[in-house]
């Protein structure tokens, strides 16, 4: 299973960040969320936390999405030593999406009102 993201329909409401932190920590704090939304002018870009990597990448650059240049770090799913996104703010422990249990029941998908996130078979 995987969470499919249709960034064109994302409105930047960040309810996915809220429910992720609520479901995992019992309180609301987007900094403790495993999904994070980058809000752009032409479109928004939700990214789900992937695995932690020991080393920071050396190829940091920009990526083209829909004809727009965005910082590659924004679209990268990994947390690494040089990227604070996807780490617990107090402890620095890396966070990773767990699909909210087994069988997968991702809360962000359930709370995504514009249906930008959907759970699909791989």
């Amino acid at each position: 299973m995987k969470i499919k993201i249709d960034h064109k329909t994302c409105t930047g409401c960040k309810q996915c960040e809220i429910i992720c932190s609520l479901a995992h920590t019992g309180s609301v704090n987007p900094w403790r969320s495993r999904i994070r939304v980058y809000v752009g002018e032409e479109f928004c870009y939700p990214v789900i936390a992937g695995p932690y990597t020991e080393a920071a990448c050396n190829s940091k650059g920009t990526r083209m999405v829909e004809g727009l240049e965005i910082d590659e770090c924004v679209t990268c799913r990994a947390s690494c030593p040089s990227k604070s996104v996807y780490k617990e703010p107090d402890t620095g422990i890396p966070l990773k999406c767990d699909f909210c249990g087994d069988p997968p029941n991702p809360q962000c998908v359930q709370w995504c009102a514009p249906n930008c996130l959907t759970l699909v078979e791989e």
């Binding site: 409105t11 409401c13 932190s21 609301v28 900094w31 980058y38 924004v74 009102a113």
Partner: protein, 604 residues
């Protein structure tokens, strides 16, 4: 603590200091948050007699227990102060990301006192509150200001892209700096705490912007109950056709509706119909023409706000927020401007300069009528200004920068129209421009505007679409109830694009109970609105604003559907319904009932 943080952040700009105070328990229990809390503080701490642009005025940013929790649309923050436009207490509301970030920083309220000796901007990162020089930002337009602050904060706090992006910034444009009396506080690239000129209050304190990014948390009492309730609301929202319309069109469905019901404010309220808007009666047309994408405030499942593409003109950016219906009506139909691209440009200009599009529209349409009638000579403006003339874009910039005739217009509609001998041609209430719907079209609307404590505001009561019902008693009761309801909703703070209807009181009590773990019900919430309304009225009376009036065009000239607003008949009934005297003074009995006897001292 659940819901609330229980903390007030105070910043004394004169001394350049900040400190944190514990929130008094009664404020949370009796006034909840938002408008209730901040109005109470305005009443307690601001002398109603002061000049609103003096350092003695305070600027209060407030959130509520639901802000940032994920309760649908609970993103909003309220700004309160004494208004330089109406001299009344005023509390405009704004969406975006600022409110939630203030909450995540650990505060429910942010209060600015005094006046900084030189321009500053304030950054709040949890308990790290800093005041920085802002001379380099002074004179910059709203979006540029935000951009520069983001860059500065990136370096200062070592923030990554996501954090920078999540940050909330409230700022003023050149209009606020130049103390234009209808300047607004802008936030997040095109949202505004719009009415009543609080941007000028912010400018008078020499604050260019406040940026907040909070990494803290909000605790919820009943997490499971809350999650289920939100899911149930989503299900309802997905299945409901009415909700679908609100989500799909936002306020773009309204120009057509206003035109069809002949209630479109047009040509300085000389008409209730604007022919050029016929082509936009189907909102899909507007979507097709200008929409780029839907845009939501923090934690709103709707995304009713739209990002639009402006005509291909190097002066304007590729996309910008809006325009919302109020802007289309006041800067559009009311000024005779009927092209959607022009409307986008006018809206963008006002946002960048930081001016309330509604009062600005009322000012310009007044100038247009004065010009057409020959009262305002062309030599005073420098160019012709008939209805529909895009020279008005020049005028917008002149007002914000106080150049030429703009200097006089920046003083507000009454000062401007009086200078040319026709104060009655400014269509405003307590100095604030009348919003989009023509009061003569709906029976209760004139009464709602006239009695509104903050001047002619469109968010302090809803539009009564009750065509055909002739019973004035119904409308008077409707007006009172609705004003009280919305005062409570503003304390929640919930967005009434979503909670728009009779059931909202129960809904708010439900959210509040899940989040705070207290036992609110619709019945316990209802009196709160009435208490707030009376408190605001008492402040206004102490400030010397007593009359509830409408411009003579609305009460004497039958422009729409051949009728006028019979305010002289409706007002006594309304006062009676409120438990006030014949002249609109709250009675001792009423104040006792609302536990406001002490507050009424010196007024009744």
């Amino acid at each position: 603590m659940f819901g609330w943080n229980g903390k007030i952040l105070r910043i004394d700009l004169t001394k350049g200091t900040s400190w944190v105070e514990a929130m008094p328990t009664y404020l949370m229990e009796e006034y909840i948050g938002g408008r209730g809390m901040s109005d109470r503080i305005v009443f307690d701490e601001i002398d109603p007699q002061i000049d609103a642009l003096s350092p003695e005025n305070k600027l209060i940013f407030s959130t509520g227990p639901l802000t940032g929790t994920g309760a649908p649309s609970a993103s909003r923050f309220m700004v309160s102060a004494k208004s330089p436009l109406s001299n009344c207490v005023s509390s405009p509301c704004c969406g975006g990301y600022f409110g939630a970030n203030l909450k995540y920083s650990g505060y429910d309220l942010l209060i600015f006192e005094g006046k900084s000796p030189e321009p500053v901007y304030v950054t709040i990162l949890n308990d790290r509150v800093e005041i920085h020089p802002a001379k380099h930002l002074w004179g910059k337009e709203s979006y540029e200001t935000e951009k520069m602050i983001r860059e500065d904060m990136k370096a200062r706090f070592n923030l990554d892209n996501w954090a920078l992006n999540s940050m909330g910034i409230a700022n003023i444009g050149p209009a606020g700096e130049n103390l234009v009396r209808f300047a607004c506080i802008m936030s997040d690239g095109g949202r505004a705490a719009g009415r009543s000129g609080l941007g000028a209050v912010m400018g008078s304190k020499n604050i260019k912007a406040v940026a907040s990014i909070g990494t803290g948390q909000v605790n919820i009492a009943d997490v499971e109950g809350f999650r289920k309730a939100v899911m149930a609301f989503y299900k309802e929202a997905r299945d409901s056709g009415d909700f679908y319309k609100r989500r799909r069109y936002g306020t773009w469905g309204l120009p057509g509706r206003a035109n069809a019901s002949k209630s479109q404010a047009a040509f300085n309220f000389k008409d209730g119909y604007f022919k050029k808007f016929v082509k936009y009666e189907d909102p899909e047309k507007i979507i097709e023409l200008i929409r780029v994408r839907d845009e939501a405030c923090f934690s709103c499942p709707f995304g009713c706000s739209k990002r639009s593409r402006i005509k291909n003109d190097p002066e304007y950016p590729l996309t910008a927020k809006g325009p919302e219906h109020e802007t289309m009506a006041l800067l559009g139909a009311n000024c005779g401007l009927g092209d959607m691209n022009d409307l986008c440009s006018a809206n963008y200009l006002c946002n960048e300069l930081g001016m309330d599009t509604i009062t600005t529209g009322a000012m310009i349409s007044c100038a247009m009528e004065l010009f057409e009638e020959g009262h305002l000579p062309e030599k005073d403006i420098g160019y012709p200004l008939e209805f529909g003339n895009t020279n008005m874009f020049m005028l917008l910039k002149q007002i914000a920068r106080r150049e030429g005739i703009g200097d006089l217009m920046a003083q507000g509609g009454i000062a401007f129209a009086s200078q040319y001998g026709h104060p009655e041609l400014f269509m405003g209430i307590k100095g604030m421009g009348i919003p989009a719907w023509h009061p003569q079209a709906f029976d209760a609307l004139g009464l709602q505007y006239a009695t509104c404590n903050t001047g002619g505001a469109h968010t302090k009561s809803t539009m009564p679409f009750y065509e055909g019902r002739k019973d004035p008693a119904f409308f008077v009761e409707f007006t009172k109830k609705d004003q009280d309801y919305l005062a409570t909703a503003d304390s929640g703070i919930l967005c009434w694009i979503i909670y728009h209807g009779p059931e909202w009181g129960d809904k708010m009590a439900e959210w509040l109970n899940y989040v705070t773990g207290t036992g609110f019900t619709k019945e316990t919430l209802d009196p709160l609105g009435e208490r707030i309304w009376n408190l605001e009225k008492l402040f206004n009376m102490k400030a010397g604003v007593k009359e509830d009036t409408l411009p003579p065009r609305i009460t004497k000239e039958p422009r729409v559907k051949n009728r006028v607003v019979p305010l002289d008949k409706l007002l006594p009934e309304y006062y009676e319904m409120r438990g006030w005297d014949k002249d609109g003074t709250p009675t001792k009995k009423k104040l006792e009932e609302l536990k406001l006897e002490k507050e009424g001292e010196g007024v009744i």
